[in-house]
Every structure is written in structure tokens, then in C-alpha cells.
Symmetry: C2
Subunit: 310 residues, 2 copies
């Protein structure tokens, strides 16, 4: 497995992408890892010039991988979203944190006779099932309620060996109690977080609580810290390296968030490109309080087309 020493250039100020360094970047990289929201699309709208840019990169033999912390969809559901937006991306090119949770269990030889309790959406349940695991909870427990009475015993499945927590728009006390009991009372039960993003662009207009909210709730009730499988944890990267046999020094992570995408790329030793088409503005990047500097930055992914004269 590839070493994951941080990129030594990460402390220098980011360089604006130009014709010259864009060419150098392309020549030095075999694979581009893209974050999706704020990079490929915003909400349900494709960002300008994406189809042409992806096409150009493919025509130059570059491998493309789409890495997202959003766990509400499975890879199949993501592939459909790409298709709806007119992009041809295969399921194998998509790495969502829902898939990462399933792969974490697979890689760590989670016993198939054990079950997984899900606080989160359909995406996690689908990925767990596709990987051959039995998933409980998730959308199934949306309407359930704990009975608040003396002498009430809340029954939980003693075969649950892992609780996976992700963004859950239908969070309720029943799910929190179920997950808490499994982690506190089932010996050796794992606590896995898809990611810990505090907020995310659930709508085009506002930031809403992200998976970090549900994960924080379970930290609070269990006094345990989770294993995080999404960005900026390098679990997905290590999995990718193993699968595609790539070197991180010949990869470039492209993202709109400094503390997840760029940090994720740097943690893994990749080159990094920040695009300003999402949550990060130029003034956030330049602020003295910001300690995370990508190798390069540009307004949007398709700038690369103009810079290379394609």
C-alpha cells in the first residue's frame, strides 16, 4: 500500500492555474479525483463546461474518479444522477461515503452473520446490501417511536456488530436509542461515520446540518469516537490505490472545500486543485487564518480547457 505522507508543497501559497502550470499538472498526473457538489454540479444544476472537460481528460487517457461525502445515495443512484445531467459516468468511477462504509466492513472482514444498524438514508442500506451485509434501521425506522414508560425495555438486536451513521433527514430518538444501545451494549460493536461534515448545501440557498450532526449525537450518548470513512479520512484513498494500482503522487484531487477535499488530497500525498465554484471564495483561501493551501486554484474545472487551448 502507498505511503500517505503529506504533500511537502502543501504549506506554500496556492498558485493560480495558468496555461503553463496546467500543462505541467496534466503531464504529471494519471488520475483526477473529483468532488461532486460545487465542482461538477451545484444542487441539481451542472456547472458550465463540465461535459467537455471530462471528455478532454478521458481523451488524454486520464482516469476519472468521483469522490463524494454524501451518503444519502448509493453508487447506482449516483450513476443515475450523472446520467440525468447528461454525463456518462460508470458506477465503478464513483466513490460515495455510503460505499466507503460498506467497503470498510468488507476490508476489515466484518462477519457476514453479524448485522449493521444504519442511522442514515437508503444509500447506505443499499451499499451494505450490495456488499452482502444485513442492514437494519435507516428508512425502515423513520416512523418508529420509543415508549417512554417505567419498566419499558427497548429491545435491540444483539447480533448488530456495527452502527453506520451518516446524514439522516429523518433522524429521531428511536434510531439514536437503537444505535446507542448497540454501541454501548453489544461487545465489540463498531461505530462508523460516513463523514463528519458539519453542514452541507442541501439546497442551493443555505447550509443545513450534515452527517456531523448525527455523528455528534452518537458521540454524545456513547462517549465513543467513530471511525470516519469519508473525506478527509484517507480510507477511501487507500481503497482506491489498492483497486486501481495508482501512485498518489500521480493523482490530483479537485474540490471546492479546503477542510475536506484539499485536506483529503494532501493527507494522501496527491496534488490538489481548488475550484472556487462551490463553498470556498478567494477571500477564504487568502485569509491568514486559513492554513490549508492547495497546490493550484482556479474558478471552475472547465478553465483548464481554455488554459490548454483545447
Amino acid at each position: 500500500m502507498e505511503s500517505t505522507t503529506p504533500n511537502p508543497t502543501s504549506t506554500a501559497a496556492a498558485e493560480l492555474l495558468t496555461g503553463a502550470n496546467a500543462k505541467l499538472l496534466l503531464d504529471s498526473v494519471d488520475a483526477f479525483l473529483f468532488d461532486c457538489d460545487g465542482v461538477i454540479w451545484k444542487g441539481d444544476k451542472l456547472i458550465d463546461g463540465i461535459p467537455e472537460t471530462l471528455e478532454m481528460l478521458r481523451s488524454k487517457g486520464k482516469k476519472l474518479v468521483f469522490v463524494t461525502n454524501n451518503s444519502t445515495k448509493s453508487r447506482i443512484q449516483y450513476a443515475n444522477k450523472f446520467r440525468t445531467l447528461g454525463l456518462s459516468v460508470s458506477q465503478d468511477e464513483i466513490f460515495s461515503s455510503s460505499f466507503a462504509a460498506a467497503m470498510y466492513l468488507k476490508v476489515n472482514q466484518f462477519p457476514p452473520q453479524k448485522k449493521v444498524y444504519v442511522i442514515g438514508g437508503e444509500g447506505i442500506v443499499q451499499e451494505l446490501q450490495l456488499a452482502g451485509f444485513t442492514a437494519l434501521g435507516g428508512p425502515e425506522d423513520v416512523e418508529k417511536r420509543a415508549q417512554w414508560k417505567s419498566n419499558c425495555l427497548f429491545e435491540h438486536d444483539k447480533d448488530v456488530g456495527a452502527v453506520v451513521v451518516g446524514l439522516d433527514p429523518d433522524i429521531n430518538y428511536y434510531k439514536l436509542q437503537y444505535g446507542t444501545l448497540c454501541i454501548r451494549e453489544n461487545p465489540g460493536c463498531l461505530f462508523i461515520a460516513t463523514n463528519r461534515d458539519s453542514v452541507g448545501h442541501m439546497t442551493d440557498l443555505q447550509e443545513w446540518p450534515g452527517a456531523g450532526c448525527m455523528v455528534g449525537a452518537i458521540c454524545g450518548s456513547t462517549e465513543r469516537e467513530p471511525v470516519v470513512v469519508g473525506k478527509p479520512s484517507t480510507f477511501m484513498m487507500e481503497f482506491l490505490l489498492q483497486k486501481f494500482n495508482l501512485s498518489t503522487s500521480r493523482m490530483c484531487m479537485v474540490g471546492d472545500r479546503l477542510d475536506t477535499d484539499i485536506l483529503f488530497g494532501q493527507n494522501a500525498g496527491c496534488k490538489t486543485l481548488l475550484v472556487l465554484s462551490g463553498v470556498t471564495t478567494r477571500s477564504i483561501l487568502d485569509d491568514p487564518s486559513n492554513k490549508i493551501q492547495p497546490d493550484y486554484y482556479t474558478n471552475k474545472v472547465s478553465d483548464i480547457l481554455g488554459l490548454l487551448g483545447e
Copy 2:
């Protein structure tokens, strides 16, 4: 205000309560602070000998105060619970974390034209209203749902200047989103936690997620830490001292939890008595990993009657 230096005896091993030291304790103390659950009652059942013990302490001129981290009830609702169990305890003798939240705002001169958003139960809403504040949320928002659509704007009241978070059996995404937006977007908005107990005895049979669960969720989505007003924070103690003009060195905190009750008493410089009628067993107390030693311990509060030959 009284100094709150830790009790210097707190690192010595706890002494079993005996006739001799029980008499010394009584002579050296003017007020007893009692935790309720696991000390006075367990769920809906009074613990043996409580009425006679409280009567004896009152007859000796001791002041009694009941301090609970449970925020689901207001002080009026607590006084009713005491009455139902056959105990005569006045509202003024009760300090719940719901009351503490209201008093924190009062003491810190929270502007009365500002509003308070509540993630928690009726108890918090009642105490805030009794203290003259406008409370939003709480039981009112149990059935509300956020609309997960592009271009959906979640409207929150810009006059909310504090979010109070306590145990909420009806937690949902709407409340988490409302509280998160107030804290993240309303300038200077306070984040107040009634307490951070990870779990509590909501039924006689099991531990269920406590306020620490909901507080953890808001920490996760806001990347902020709360002001805690319940045990083991000394806010309630400082308020008590100011109100009753007592000296902490002449107070004894009686509780069943090492990390809230006994730590709370020690943080404030009180004498401390652990009772084994709640969550702490003798083996937890004696375990080398336990760093919190009360001054005294005994099985249950009423042991004091026998020891004093009353």
C-alpha cells in the same frame, strides 16, 4: 460570591459512613444538596426511608435543596412529583437544569426582546416563560418537517439570541436545523446546554440517550461548544450561594453519580456523600480507573438515620 476551589480531601479514598463520621458530617454542615434520581427515587418509586430522613434533617435545622440535571420538567412539575410521592418539598427548594437555563439568561441580562429557541421538552419552555422570556420550539416543533428541495429556504427567526438544548425525546431534523441556523447565522447567539449526561435512567431497566446526545448533535453541526448550566458545571451552585447566602464548605452534595454529582460538589468545594442506590456500585467506586472519590459513601440516604440512632 463564594470561591469554588476544589475540596482538598477529594483525592483521598472515600470513607464508609459510620455513626462517628455521620455525626461529624451533620455538625459541620448547614445544607444538604440532593440529586433526585437514584438518591430520592428510582423512576417513579421512592427509595426506602426517604421521608423520615428528610424530616429528621429538617428537624435539625438543615436546609434541603434538590438539584437535578433532568430538564424535561419545570420546578412546578417537580414539586408535583415530590407531592405525588408523599414528600413535602417546595418549588424554591428545587433546582432543575431547566430552571438553571432560565436563570443563566436572567443573571447574564439576556435582553427580554430577544427570543430563545428550545431543543427539549416542556420543562425548559415553562421555566423560560416564568422568567419572562419568549420561548420558541420545544413541543411546538415536534411534528414539523424541513422541506428537502432545491431552492427551499428554511426561515428562522432572526431575533433568536439563545438556543437552549436539553434532553428531547421528540428530536427531529427540523429542530436541529432551526437551532443550527440560529447559532450559525444570528450574530452573538448563545448556545446553552442544560447538561451533557450521555445517558440516563429514563426507564427502570435501561440507560437511554440523555441530553449529551442532542447537545452533541448541535456541537457537530455548529462546530461550537455550549455553556453548560447543569451539573457538573458550578453555575447552579454559584446561583444557590448568592440566593441563600451559604458557605460551600458547610454544604454536602449527596448523589449517585461520580462524574456529575460528586464532581459538581467537589468543584464547588462542598463535602460529598455518594449513595450506592443509583448508578454507581461499590466496584465502580473502588476501581483503580476511577479518579473521583467522595468524602463519604453509604448504601442509601436513610442509612444516616440508623447510624445516628434516630
